[in-house]
């Protein structure tokens, strides 16, 4: 053992005779090495998977008609980015899908939070409406897609509606739960300090429900995208779902996978933006010990 390492509890192991600075420097170096190793391991696994896929597809071990292969997908992806489809350039398709998902997501989460907090604060209302919400929640959201197409047509609003219902229930139930979980002593404290109902909701209930709400926003943005894309499958003229649907029609699996890659990148980007906002808002929370991954 020549260098100090991080033990399981994050403490630094050192040998006698080392100065503080030395110990610190070694610990920092060890942490850096660890981080580099993790990144390298991730890359190796990715390269391994991709090459296995490529070789397996090319040697006929898996059927490239269904599974395509990475280089073909990369080619297709490049084509999509540079040339787009017959109907429109890629950015236009992407913008359409994002527009549908974002409008649905924003309205879904705003209404989800409003209803969740309102019902969470009002026992009688929640007793009355809980049964309806349970029933509505039991409806698999995607079965509404054909109905929304009939109702709102092939354009933007049918997908927004689907996105909305996908997002709403997730955010609603988390906001509701978060309000219910608000610490009783904290609520009593605020009331005795002089908070009226509105002040209590605004400065105690909503902040304490915030971590629940954020957890739901992370998941539900993905759901918003699902809503938009399923809507596009059923009937649309533009969008990533439309690209996939057309590619399926002509058995172009490479293009289907390429479209999937695009949507994955978008969702990950949105996710990281949300994490950033959350961290900004949650400065008051104690940081987890030595959690520096993000």
């Amino acid at each position: 053992m020549s260098s100090p390492t991080f033990s399981a509890d994050g403490a630094i192991a050192a040998q006698s005779g080392m100065s503080e600075a030395e110990i610190e420097k070694r610990a920092v170096d060890a942490a850096r090495r660890q981080k580099r190793f993790v990144i390298a391991a991730r890359l190796v696994i990715l390269a391994g998977l991709l090459s296995f896929w490529e070789i397996a597809a090319r040697t006929g071990f898996i059927d490239s008609f269904f599974y395509s292969y990475p280089t073909a997908i990369a080619d297709r992806l490049w084509e999509l980015i540079t040339e787009g489809t017959d109907e429109a350039p890629l950015w236009y398709h992407l913008a359409i899908t994002m527009q549908e998902a974002l409008i649905g997501f924003i309205f879904g989460s705003v209404f989800g939070i409003l209803f969740g907090v309102a019902l969470g604060r009002n026992r009688t209302a929640s007793d009355i409406f809980s049964v309806y919400i349970k029933v509505l929640n039991a409806v698999p959201r995607v079965v509404l897609a054909p109905i929304f197409i009939l109702l709102f047509g092939f354009g933007l609003w049918s997908k927004v509606a689907l996105s909305f219902v996908m997002v709403f229930f997730v955010v609603f139930s988390n906001a509701f739960q978060g309000v219910r979980e608000a610490d009783r002593a904290m609520v009593a404290n605020a009331r005795i300090l002089g908070a009226n109902n509105w002040q209590l909701t605004r400065s105690v209930i909503i902040p304490s429900a915030m971590s629940w709400i954020f957890a739901s926003l992370h998941i539900s943005f993905g759901f918003g995208i699902v809503g938009a894309i399923v809507g596009e499958f059923i009937g649309s003229r533009y969008g990533i779902g439309f690209i996939i649907q057309v590619a399926r029609g002509v058995h172009d699996t490479a293009e289907m996978y390429a479209a999937i890659v695009i949507i994955v990148v978008v969702v990950l980007a949105a996710e990281s933006v949300m994490t950033m906002i959350e961290n900004r808002l949650a400065r008051w929370r104690p940081p987890a010990l030595s959690e520096q991954d993000h």
């Binding site: 002593a185 005795i192 300090l193 002089g194 908070a195 002040q199 105690v204 902040p207 915030m210 949650a282």
Partner: protein
């Protein structure tokens, strides 16, 4: 200090023949208090001791107005309790600070809720933080403070509203013994500024005796007042030195005699 001799009108807190019954989930009624009476004078410091779960916290809830008696009457400053009285302050057993607000924002919460201008509230909050010795930590968040410091913030948060009645529900029970002693000094010091009537619920007999003018021993559930012990130790008290005095030991022996029976009862019932 006049103990219990004040006219009824002048009492800070009065519970007259109060009972409180709960409905358990299976539809049975059970009582936490029956025919409970006590009177606390203005500026008096009273400690309630009793077996676990005997209804001490229920009593405090009735005084805040968060709970209502099934029968009997609760009066605060001569008036029947009707909702939360702004003259009441409450220090909780658990951490009831708002973790998303820093220390200064926590302390000024009360005045802001009560509609005082922000400048004024902030100035008052700085005063109270100075009094509990936490001026340097105004911008810290609760999770960055020790348990004792958080308790001091809670005291400042409560005292800033100038409560005439201060209710404390085992406020220091989660602290280690040394910190608890420091908090006793802190509390007596703050109390000497405001002279609120205090009801202090605790399991710790020494704590009760060191702080209070009067210690009420409650019976096992349903609770009534079993006995009253007047603590005739001079103020200002040095809580560290106090507990080695023969009078102190004598009082605590006497109260424990009383309490032991009830604790045994409570344990049998549970």
């Amino acid at each position: 200090m006049s103990l219990g001799s004040e006219s009824e009108r002048g009492a800070a807190i009065e519970l007259r023949h109060v009972s409180r019954k709960f409905l358990s989930p299976d539809g049975k009624a059970f009582s936490t208090l029956t025919d409970f009476s006590m009177t606390i004078a203005r500026g008096e410091f009273v400690a309630l001791v009793g077996p676990t779960g005997c209804g001490k916290s229920t009593t405090l809830n009735l005084i805040t107005g968060l709970g209502r008696p099934t029968s009997g009457e609760v009066r605060v400053m001569g008036q029947p309790v009707n909702g939360i009285d702004p003259r009441v302050g409450f220090v909780f057993q658990t951490d009831a600070l708002f973790p998303w607000r820093n220390v200064i924002d926590n302390v000024m919460a009360g005045p802001l809720f009560r509609g005082r201008p922000k400048k004024e509230a902030e100035a008052a909050a700085h005063d109270w933080l100075a009094r509990v010795g936490l001026s340097k930590f105004a911008r810290h968040y609760p999770h960055q403070l020790s348990g004792g410091m958080r308790k001091r913030v809670a005291l400042a948060q409560t005292f800033i509203n100038n409560p005439e009645i201060l209710l404390m529900d085992e406020p220091f029970s989660a602290l280690d013994a040394q910190t608890r002693l420091l908090m006793h000094e802190e509390l007596l010091n703050l109390w000497s500024i405001t002279k609120a009537a205090v009801v202090f619920v605790t399991h710790d007999l020494e704590e009760a005796i060191a702080l209070a003018d009067r210690v009420l021993v409650l019976t096992a559930r349903p609770a009534t007042v079993k006995s009253t012990h007047i603590i005739d130790l001079p103020r200002p008290r040095d809580v560290n030195e106090l507990r080695y005095r023969p009078e102190f030991i004598e009082i605590s022996r006497r109260i424990w005699e009383d309490l032991r029976e009830e604790v045994r009862h409570g344990a049998d019932a549970a």
